[in-house]
């Protein structure tokens, strides 16, 4: 007799051990096959699957609980740091954004509980100021300065070039969440207009023809782990 197959085979039902080792996609494929074979999913198998799902859910719950408590701890430290100050909401939001790169909804909710301020008021402030973001940042940020000096020296052409190369417009992120394209008012480097900021590094006096090279260098960083 040959050794037992470690992966489910097509002509018989999977064993509990095999079930436990399956990922979601394989599991779905197997259920389809069993339905074809029997017209239904055998009871012992469906019970086994629901037990596994239950286990997985519990694990996720535990992780979420842990996450919640880290969020609570983080928010509490931020609030404690500013607790003696009047009008501290904006400074706390700055601290949160510095930590996460944006203001996650869970954190905002926790902050609302911690400060005793309605969530709507917190969101009122977040959405009013351009600086606060509600979406997680992409891996790389490409920012075009659209101050007047840069505008006069062709920042729109730079932006168009970036748009067509990345296939997104400003304020959007590429589908793989690698590059976020944005426009800012003025970074105060008017002496070097038009300017681009890539991950905090400023490129001055950029020509349209150089945009490709700059994007390539971003991709190269990607290749290096």
């Amino acid at each position: 007799m040959t050794s037992a197959p470690t992966h489910p085979v097509d002509d018989r039902d999977p064993t509990p051990v095999e079930l436990a080792n399956c990922d979601e996609a394989t599991l779905l494929g197997m259920l389809d096959k069993m339905e074809q074979r029997h017209g239904f999913v055998p009871r012992e198998i469906s019970e086994e699957i629901s037990r596994l799902v239950q286990l997985r859910l519990e694990r996720i719950e535990r992780i979420r609980g842990k996450l919640d408590s880290t969020i609570r701890r983080d928010v509490q430290t931020h609030v404690a740091h500013w607790s003696n100050e009047e009008g501290n909401l904006i400074m706390i939001l700055h601290a949160i954004q510095n930590q996460h790169g944006y203001v996650p909804r869970e954190v905002a909710m926790e902050l609302s509980r911690e400060l005793g301020v309605p969530l709507a008021r917190i969101y009122e402030v977040i959405t009013f100021y351009h600086y606060f973001k509600l979406q997680p940042p992409a891996k790389h940020n490409v920012v075009v300065c659209n101050g007047t000096a840069c505008y006069l020296k062709g920042s729109l052409e730079l932006l168009n070039e970036l748009r067509s190369r990345l296939g997104i417009s400003e304020g959007q992120t590429t589908a793989d969440r690698h590059i976020h394209l944005d426009v800012v008012r003025c970074i105060g480097c008017c002496g070097m207009s038009p300017a681009l900021v890539v991950d905090g590094k400023t490129y001055g006096r950029v020509k349209t023809s150089e945009v490709g090279g700059i994007l390539d260098s971003v991709k190269k960083q990607e290749a290096k782990p």
């Binding site: 009047e86 003025c186 480097c189 002496g191 400023t202 001055g204």
Partner: protein, 659 residues
């Protein structure tokens, strides 16, 4: 650091003076963006490699943005030399050639603006550059002939001839500067070379016919310490910039009310744009009955194209802080806030450090310098809302709310932050204060016009050769600023207009370039002083597009609280968009004017009231451009505007040719 006392400051006032030898690297945001950090690292590395004791210092920016990164070198037996556009490779050469071999680098020297009329001491270096329209063509030839002449007279060992990067003199033919004295000759011709060498280099006499006699138009009050001291060092400020002497004077030596009296004599007006007399603001705030008063420094520099506040905060934070403490003392405030844009991380970092240093030295906190006066300052970050530059909105933002403006009166000086009397001063205003207190209001009032006293910093950018910070006395004309200081328009095109005041300002066409700059004159021309951004536009820039650009900015930044601003701005943008696509109709211009009036009259705050300014001023001076867009579409309009500028330049050329 131990707590400073009055006696410490008095002894510091006597021992002024700086080190004999140093290299300064100008590390502000602009410089760092251009690579000044790597230059700094490379300089230090090469210095260590050569085992030199020369200190390499971090300083703020002197304001020459066009030449970033900028490095200044002073070493024994050599004049102070400013180098522009320095790369790491050049940094190594500076140490090896300039510091060790005492030879200047070719092509990177920025000539000093401290020009002299006398030769004091033998000439050791000659800078040469062709400053005419055909830039740089004759520079090599003149360097060669000067060198030949010097070789002929056997002076090669003593005198070096170097091509300069920038002479500070423009459109004056070939310019030659003799160092170390700073005597500058202009419009030098080939036959003058022998004379310069014979008379000036050998004979030590100044050639009067070639001498450039105009002194520098810039007067540096606000920028006095920028690029001169390390912004991260309280010690440097105390020793080399008369730091906190003005505070000592106000707290310990003079009667209460001294600062306000001096400010009244000085005629200083708010540099944030509106131009309200600073002494009056302080007096009004101080006169209110209240248990608590606040002073706020407005560093929410949101105008695109303006960067003087950032530069001052980054290069000289202690001056602004000292100004704030003096203001607080004059008004009896015990708390102060710096409201700074979060987009200026370097400025935030440096002000934070300045506050911590001042606190450690006892210049902030309880009983400052033993005078019984207590004050503390904190930082609040802006979060990218232009409207927060408006004072009521700024107060709302510090209180942690949305930055929506509220109607005035009551003015903040009556009821401001947390309902207490509050004085809000711009960065530049506060940076002026220590200088005025120390040198007197009358000294400050020497500069400027009758109603606008003193100096003003402008950030000149756009289509200009040397984009830079400029500090000039009020009353200097736009033409002097653009042509004499900044070298004129990029690629020697014709200037079309200068835009001042950012999105709340307007354009000033070339025919008004000879207007002396002051709060009143700019207002008469339909623009405003604003915070001091100055955008130069050449004939290729479409005024309709420029108006649209600024209006879009204001529409994006409108907080939405009042209808005229929210709806009016949007409707105007729609019309402008239509016009710029060539789909406008003849009624559109009338409609634009009507909406403008409505917005000006009915908007709640300064943002809405001034948002129509770019549209109104372009309509006032360039209505034919709007009409060209409506009648013939974009490409026709572009052709027309170029042709007009061409004709104008031909006319001026004719006028010059037939005097």
């Amino acid at each position: 650091m131990k707590t400073l006392t009055k006696a410490d400051l008095e002894s510091l006032a006597r021992q002024q003076g700086e080190g004999k030898e140093w290299i300064r690297v100008q590390l502000d945001t602009g410089g760092i963006a251009a690579g000044a950090e790597t230059v700094f690292a490379e300089l230090s590395r090469v210095r260590d490699e050569m085992k030199l004791a020369l200190p390499i210092l971090r300083v703020g920016s002197v304001g020459y943005s066009f030449a970033d990164p900028v490095v200044e070198v002073k070493c024994a037996g050599m004049p102070r030399i400013l180098y522009g556009r320095i790369t790491p490779e050049l940094a190594g050469r500076i140490v090896r050639e300039h510091v060790v071999n005492k030879r200047l680098l070719d092509e990177y020297v920025i000539a000093t603006r401290r020009r002299s009329l006398k030769l004091d001491g033998p000439v050791t270096q000659i800078l040469v550059r062709d400053t005419g329209a055909d830039l740089g063509n004759k520079t090599e030839f003149f360097q060669f002939s000067l060198l030949e002449e010097i070789k002929r007279r056997g002076l090669t060992e003593r005198v070096q001839v170097v091509r300069a990067y920038d002479m500070g003199v423009y459109d004056e033919g070939v310019a030659v500067q003799l160092l170390p004295s700073g005597v500058t000759y202009v419009n030098v011709l080939a036959q003058d070379v022998a004379r310069i060498v014979a008379e000036s280099v050998v004979g030590g006499r100044v050639l009067d016919d070639l001498l450039w006699k105009e002194s520098d138009r810039q007067v540096r009050v606000v920028l006095r310490n920028c690029g001169e001291i390390d912004p991260d060092s309280l010690d440097d400020y105390l020793r080399n910039a008369q730091g906190y002497q003005a505070l000592k004077r106000v707290l310990c030596d003079e009667k209460p009310g001294f600062a306000i009296a001096e400010l009244k004599t000085s005629g200083l007006r708010g540099r944030g744009g509106a131009g309200f007399p600073t002494w009056m603001k302080w007096q009004l705030t101080g006169a209110q009955k209240a248990d608590q008063r606040y002073v706020i420094c407005n560093g929410d520099e949101g105008d695109p194209g303006a960067f003087m506040d950032r530069s001052v905060l980054e290069s000289d934070p202690h001056s602004v802080l000292e100004g704030m403490i003096i203001a607080a003392h004059a008004m009896g405030c015990s708390r102060g806030y710096f409201y700074i844009r979060a987009e200026y991380p370097k400025a935030v970092e440096r002000v934070e450090r300045a506050i911590a240093q001042a606190r450690a030295a006892g210049l902030l906190g309880d009983n400052i310098l033993g005078s019984g006066f207590s004050f503390d300052a904190k930082i609040r970050l802006g979060a990218g809302a232009f409207v927060c530059g408006e004072e009521t909105a700024l107060i709302a933002s510090i209180e942690g709310r949305r930055g929506s403006p509220s109607p005035r009166p009551p003015y903040p000086s009556v009821r401001g932050l947390w309902q207490k009397p509050t004085a809000i001063n711009n960065v530049e205003t506060l940076a002026n204060v220590p200088a005025i207190v120390l040198r007197g209001g009358a000294w400050y009032a020497q500069n400027g016009t009758e109603k606008s006293k003193g100096t003003k910093v402008f950030a000149v950018t756009g289509k200009v050769k040397n984009a830079q910070l400029v500090e000039v006395p009020m009353g200097t004309t736009l033409r002097q600023i653009v042509y004499d200081i900044c070298g004129g328009v990029l690629d020697d095109k014709d200037i079309k207009a200068v835009q001042t005041g950012g999105p709340s300002g307007g354009v000033i066409p070339d025919k008004h370039l000879d207007t002396p700059v002051s709060y009143e004159t700019l207002q008469q021309l339909g623009s405003i002083m604003g915070s001091g951004g100055m955008l130069v536009m050449d004939k290729n820039d479409s005024m309709v597009e420029v108006a649209k650009f600024y209006l879009r900015f204001c529409v994006d930044e409108s907080c939405g609280k009042c209808a005229p601003c929210r709806i009016g701005g949007y409707q105007m943008l729609q019309i402008l968009d239509r016009i710029s696509r060539g789909r406008g109709s003849a009624d559109d211009i009338t409609a634009l004017r009507r909406i403008c009036t409505a917005m000006q009259k009915a908007s709640l705050c300064g943002l809405g009231q001034t948002a129509p300014n770019p549209v109104l001023s372009t309509l006032r001076y360039f209505e034919e451009e709007y009409k060209a867009f409506i009648e013939g579409g974009p490409s026709y309009a572009r052709k027309i505007s170029r042709a007009q500028a061409g004709e104008a330049s031909k006319e001026t050329a004719k006028a010059v040719a037939t005097p």
